[in-house]
Subunit: 459 residues, 2 copies
């Protein structure tokens, strides 16, 4: 009965909840770009204020990078201690020219698939983290108090490698340790099927700078005789995959295991629409390892991608320069028990081995996290699954996740705490891309879903 009242309250207050989210989305909290540091700080302040308004004891906690937001309510007497995690920082917005509107001037747009909230961070992760806060708000409005014993833990460096996260967790372990962590940074299986993530890929980021001549040269004066670092870089990148799509870095596949038959059968039962998955982004043919389905590739296979490349003259017109430097940002998604540090070492050795005379390399690491495997026998998993199934009218799927949410592994490693990953994003949310959006239905049913999960976990 009281859950129904909370759900009704959520329905009635959706316009107010949307306004609050739009307000948060107006803050350009791009964590990777130092120019936006004051904005990250402002987003943290906004959340502290909102949590205080909600009745939490909230504080902004400094780090060497962007601040953490930590808030508490209740005590052990109120039932299991739940920690909720989300992140308030967002990805950069370039290429800005491809946005249909200012990424930080959010709006509710009507689309063929229903209304959406359009802005950078709407889906990743401000919209998602606000689903939990709004569920708490409705709960309090109905019950006069927040639901049980909660800790809220919001990060501002998730999109830039979380450099402060582990030290902060270690320094504040007693304060942050709970019975289970709830993480809202993932997606639905499809627009009508809720999902709980059981595996996450790890992530290793590397930036390489190749140097040849000690200055930019004229390709007429030196072309042919002088080493061109762009050509060397292209050959190194081309050599990272063989003709079958396998990654060539020695030892890369150590720790990659084949999918258990039971999981393969379950994934097949999900009837994932590979054609539509690729068609949604203008593609028709899976491009990766030849003997894998896209779902297998995304959920259970490691990858190596080039996320950025630059060198020489990149402006309008033409300049016959033979450049001194070339650069690339390269990332690996990891699975199973692949060791990111061993792979970093092997990758760097591979690059070194490919360098011709007169070419030097400089490496810059950008984070390293192993893959994660959730504890689905933890009783909270089945409780949450029932709650989601109640809300969506379809059995919640246990799914893999192609992305990397290292926080789940950190909670286990540093706080001994299992994590339950529930999110409401859709595949076409264009997170990390221009025109990011969050479906209004994701926001609305996301809030309702958390109310149901909280009701079950605190019962």
């Amino acid at each position: 009965m009281s859950l129904d009242a909370v759900l009704s309250r959520i329905d009635a207050s959706l316009p107010d909840a949307t306004d609050r989210l739009l307000d948060l989305l107006r803050i350009p909290s791009i964590s990777t770009d130092p120019a936006f540091k004051p904005d990250c700080d402002r987003a943290a302040d906004w959340l502290v204020q909102d949590l205080e308004n909600l009745g939490f004891t909230a504080s902004k906690r400094p780090t060497p990078g962007h601040p953490m937001v930590v808030a508490h309510c209740g005590s052990d007497a109120d039932g299991p201690h739940l920690l909720f995690y989300g992140h308030y920082d967002v990805q950069p917005v370039d290429p800005l020219a491809l946005w249909t509107r200012d990424p930080f001037d959010p709006v509710v747009e009507e689309t063929a698939k229903g209304p959406v909230i359009r802005a950078r961070g709407s889906s990743d992760d401000k919209g998602q983290l606000m689903t939990f806060l709004e569920a708490c708000r409705a709960w309090k409005a109905v019950h006069g108090r927040l639901p049980g014993h909660l800790t809220i833990f919001l990060e501002g460096e998730e999109e830039s490698g979380s450099p402060s996260l582990i030290p902060f967790m270690q320094e504040n372990a007693a304060e942050l340790r709970a019975d289970i962590a709830l993480i809202c940074d993932t997606g639905l299986f499809d627009s009508t099927t809720p999902a709980i993530v059981t595996t996450l890929r790890g992530l290793l980021g590397e930036e390489i700078t190749l140097r040849g001549p000690d200055k930019d040269l004229h390709s007429g004066m030196y072309g042919g005789a002088a080493i061109n670092p762009i050509r060397v870089l292209a050959r190194i990148i081309a050599g990272l995959h063989d003709a079958t799509g396998r990654i060539t870095v020695p030892g890369f596949y150590d720790g990659v295991t084949e999918l258990p038959d039971v999981l393969r059968a379950q994934w097949q039962s999900l009837s994932f629409d590979h054609t539509r998955f690729l068609g949604d982004v203008g593609l028709s043919v899976p491009a990766g390892e030849q003997d894998r389905t896209p779902l297998e590739m995304l959920w259970s296979r490691p990858t190596c991608e080039v996320n950025g490349i630059w060198g020489g003259y990149t402006g309008d017109g033409f300049k016959t320069v033979l450049p001194s430097e070339a650069h690339a940002k390269i990332s690996f998604r990891l699975v199973g028990s692949q060791d990111p540090h061993a792979i970093r070492t092997a990758f760097r050795a591979y690059v070194q081995s490919q360098l011709p005379a007169d070419c030097a390399v400089e490496f810059h690491g950008h984070g390293a996290s192993p893959a994660g495997q959730m504890q689905i026998d933890h009783p909270a998993f089945e409780q949450a699954r029932h709650a989601l199934t109640d809300e969506w009218g379809k059995t919640a799927a246990y799914v893999g996740c192609g992305g990397s949410i290292p926080i789940a592994g950190y909670f286990k490693t540093y706080l001994g705490m299992d994590a339950l990953l529930i999110g409401f994003g859709r595949d076409d949310d264009q997170i990390h891309s221009p025109n990011e959006k969050y479906a209004m239905e994701s926001f609305h049913k996301g809030i309702r879903s958390w109310a149901r999960v909280l009701a079950r976990l605190t019962a």
Copy 2:
């Protein structure tokens, strides 16, 4: 006797000549970047004014791009009709951070190798074109009139593919046709040995854009399954050369002939210092075709270079984007009778043949000019060689040029006019690079050299 007076006048007026050059160098006439169009116009105006001051009948002539400057003096009664060509536009200045000072705030700097004029365009080509104008100025001061029958033809699009040049030459053929063209856009053989260029490499520029997904994607959501255009581009670039450094585009070497023994012997007699040539730019090993010396590579072998590459996220930090597009600017230097249009077609076919499913390419051509062979049996060549030998005290060398100065071929093709390429740049002038400079000795002895050449050709 009168030549001595002209040379003395040049020596005495060097400070004034330098001031005039610095004034011209202050105009940022970067032709490839539309933002600098007004500055190109301003440089043309400056030259028209200076030529009028000198006693030429000068005019700025509009084109669809940047204007031409054309000036005349004398008539057929005054002896052979000489046309002088130079260009007033300059290369872009990026990477700006590597300049030790504002590229358009020129200065005379003392260096270990003597004083230099430091600025973008000081050597390529404003300093060089002013050597001729200053020679005319001294001549007039001594003789009371300009030297003979001259046409001055200054272009403002040389660094951006000269799109207006051929139409302008065709429309104004009668006005521009002379007995021989003098071109000042090349270098000395070494800092003490003057040179006349007998061969020029051709140039073909191509820009390619590869497109995969129809939007930027998240590498966690799509990495592995979706095609990555940066990876495709890297493979295409890596495939342009084989393991021996030869270019793989089918038919590319059609029209490339081996060096005649007599030329090979002459080049060997020049005692080119390969070690110092590479050492000057921080290199030690020739990087091109395995069985060629650097001098052969630069003067007689074709090349393929990547002048620019970009795609994905190139800013600070890391962004796990799987980009929709990747781009490269690629140029070929051509020799012998290589056909730039046939090579453009073959290059595009090669790229097309390398495209995987779901990857499209767009080509943008940036100029195409064949290699050039000068008519060294034209009597002006020996006259000029003697004049240069008189000035420098060393026999002027007949040399090849790794760069591409298509104007020489155009003069022959469109005006039936041979060209004599004499210039005073040094290998370490860093043209097209940060910190471009022109040795004060190049400027001073360049002016004197032209006075001597004019005296011989108009005798």
